[in-house]
């Protein structure tokens, strides 16, 4: 193992760091310099490294360096059986692990023609929506903290723990669930499931109002997010953004609505879209998404059916030869699972199309022209998870 630093960048010899082109967009009289941010930095939400080209405090360019938690998940997946791989999807984007599980299971169901009973579908939808709220709550708390408001961190985690309790009662895990299986889930819901969700719905109604009073209406917060990091519709599409980042720019694409999976087409909910695509739009959109998830939960709680929670199960699944693709809407955007099968109990190739990877790609477009402190705002509203980026 080689731990010596590779290719040290020496500014005195007229060198420039990797990824930057030699010519700069700034005027010649300006004093340019380079600044390293990360991989150990509290506002990069993990281990992301950015190299910034600055003129005073203005940003001239950003080059993100990835791979500080690249774990080779896709290689590990090639050597495990299909069922063993479900737990790997938890560790992709650990804040929406249930939804990742669902995406992987759906690809298997597509290959093996497995159907899911009514109750199983309801469980899936309800858990996925709870997961979305949980993830957004953490994002809300942490992004507030990035902008200097520590209170939001404590408030966000207060409600988040209630939802974590539901998950813990279901599958014993708080974060990496490994709950869904092809054909349903590995266990039925407990008796406390519905009453607990009703309690969460009640609390969330009050809490969302509280959040808006606490942070959304805050004048300092608005000053720091409005007209910062504007993303146009065309740029968002050409970079392949998805989720709230894409919708804030005015493209109404939500997999739940536009390509419905599970039983999302039975519920009434809106897909909020933004107008100009700045940081404030992305922020408001996520708050509104929480309200919409609560709305789905309200409908699902009322019509939650009795019956079997899963269909026939097998110990070993063998996918027939071919390629299978499924897509789900995680809390961050579009997660695509592409499985190439050769007939055996192990996949030939698994590829995850992770939402954060494409969403972070636009960072340079957003940051140029803004100040150094705005990068933190932009990073907070892009809402990425670094292991999801690196896989």
């Amino acid at each position: 193992m080689n731990l010596e630093p590779v290719n040290n960048f020496n500014p005195d010899e007229g060198g420039i760091p990797e990824g930057f082109s030699r010519t700069s967009s700034a005027t010649k009289s300006s004093e340019e310099y380079f600044l390293n941010m990360g991989p150990q930095h509290p506002s990069t939400h993990g281990v992301l490294r950015l190299v910034l080209r600055l003129d005073g405090e203005s940003v001239l360019g950003v080059v993100p360096h990835l791979g500080y938690v690249h774990r080779g998940l896709e290689k590990v997946a090639e050597n495990q059986t299909y069922l063993q791989n479900i737990h790997l999807t938890d560790r992709l984007d650990y804040l929406s692990s249930h939804i990742n599980n669902l995406g992987y299971c759906m690809a298997m169901e597509q290959a093996l023609d497995i159907g899911i009973p009514e109750r199983g579908e309801y469980i899936r939808v309800m858990i996925c929506e709870l997961q979305r709220i949980q993830s957004h709550l953490l994002w809300w708390g942490v992004s507030g903290m990035d902008l200097g408001a520590i209170t939001t961190f404590l408030y966000g985690f207060k409600e988040r723990e209630l939802i974590t309790d539901i998950f813990e009662e279901l599958c014993g895990a708080r974060l990496t669930m490994n709950f869904f299986r092809p054909g349903g889930s590995f266990a039925d819901v407990t008796d406390g499931f519905i009453p607990r969700i009703k309690q969460v719905i009640e609390i969330m109604h009050k809490a969302l109002d509280e959040y808006n009073t606490l942070l959304t209406g805050n004048i300092i917060f608005q000053e720091r997010t409005k007209n910062i990091g504007i993303l146009s519709k065309e740029t968002a599409l050409s970079y392949g953004c998805s989720g709230a980042v894409l919708r804030a720019s005015g493209v109404s694409y939500d997999v739940r609505k536009n390509d419905p999976y599970s039983i999302y087409d039975r519920f009434e909910f809106d897909v909020p879209i933004g107008s100009i695509g700045d940081c404030f739009d992305r922020y408001c959109l996520k708050i509104e998404e929480m309200a919409q998830s609560v709305r789905i939960l309200e409908q699902a709680v009322q019509t939650f059916p009795e019956g079997p929670y899963r269909s026939q199960q097998k110990a070993v699944y063998k996918l027939p030869k071919g390629s299978y693709y499924s897509q789900v809407e995680t809390a961050r955007g579009l997660l695509g699972t592409y499985i190439v099968a050769e007939g055996g109990p192990k996949p030939y190739r698994v590829k995850f199309r992770s939402p954060s990877f494409s969403n972070l790609n636009i960072l340079n477009e957003l940051a140029v022209g803004h100040k150094l402190a705005d990068i933190v705002t932009i990073l907070a509203t892009l809402d990425f998870v670094v292991p999801d980026l690196d896989r």
Binding site: M1, G19, R71, R91, I114, K351
Partner: protein
Amino acid sequence: MGVGGASNLTEQVAAIIDRYPGGVKMVDSIEFLVAWARANSMWPLIYGTACCAMEMMAAGSSRHDWARFGVEVARATPRQADLIVLAGTIVEKMGKNLITLYEQMPAPKYVIAMGSCAISGGPFYYDAYSVIKGGDRLIPVDVYVPGCPPRPEALLYGIMELQEKIKKEGRRNPWKIGDILTTPFIDTHTKAKKDWVILEQKKDQEQQAARKQFKLDNPDFKPAKAVRLKKEKFEAIKPETREPQGISNLVLLQKIQLQFPKISVSPQEDILDLTVPRNNYTDLIQFLKQNDELGLDLLLQLSAIDWKDHFDILVHLLSTRDGHKLFLRCRVDKEDPEIDTISNIFRGAEWHEREVYDLFGIRFRNHPDMRRIFLNKDFPGHPLRKDFEDPERVIKRPY
């Protein structure tokens, strides 16, 4: 070293006081006081790489609140911290940064390895080519907290164990820095295994003796019959067929074949897998993007498959307006793999192509920034190729 690793002066003062009656007791009391104070004001570094960081945050937030145990001010810089919680996987690229962080912390400093990844590599022990199998291969670890991820309560317990350890420190048991990097990997597993075997044997003997005694005491005892629980049976269900979104695959294929007649289709019905000849590859994607009628405006992903004798480049496109998808494949030879870039058509393809270059070694002609994206520059080989082997890094799965 003197009181908790202080200078020579304190050692000299302690030696003078020791000579007087009751002096030893006095120095010991002061040492205890210092260690007690140190144990109850840990300043952790905000260091989290993966999932465990979320549980570390939960331990610091409203419900669990590690401030109750004196772990209060989480610091963003290592220069102000004396505790580092290794929350999450440590990969080779992060390894040297982690050592730097540890070296920048002022002594005495402590390390908690949180979760399986930081203890041994955890779920990525086998087959992973970039994961360091345990934080203790890089820096000395004081307390291990198992779990994947551990609950916040487990982390709090780990912190309390560390506090107990710190409280025992003094001149008879001074804080010592481990010999970083030169220390060979300590095999704690073999010794633990031997201890375990001895323990098991002892337990067996005790149980046998207890059974004999029980039979002697109750000669007419009959155990209750065990009843096997019925396994739940579930019926197989046929999936509901859903109408595919947007333009149907047949119409798509016809429209494309009008322009490019040499395109063939893979035998699969629900997803349209088009095999594109290499000389039409960029033209076709240009055509698809510009064609408003088809509306394929979003690049989902660009990836590759290694078929042992050749590669396939995969391009997945999506229509945000109508919701239909189009999957393309393009064959690339194994010898000197090279293909044109599409990053001038879809700008998002730039990173995807860098990923393919990193993991498969396929080069893209006219790419603006052809560098590795995930792995170090000096990483040997391309790990997602089927013939990739690296016994130095990869531990093969034995089953």
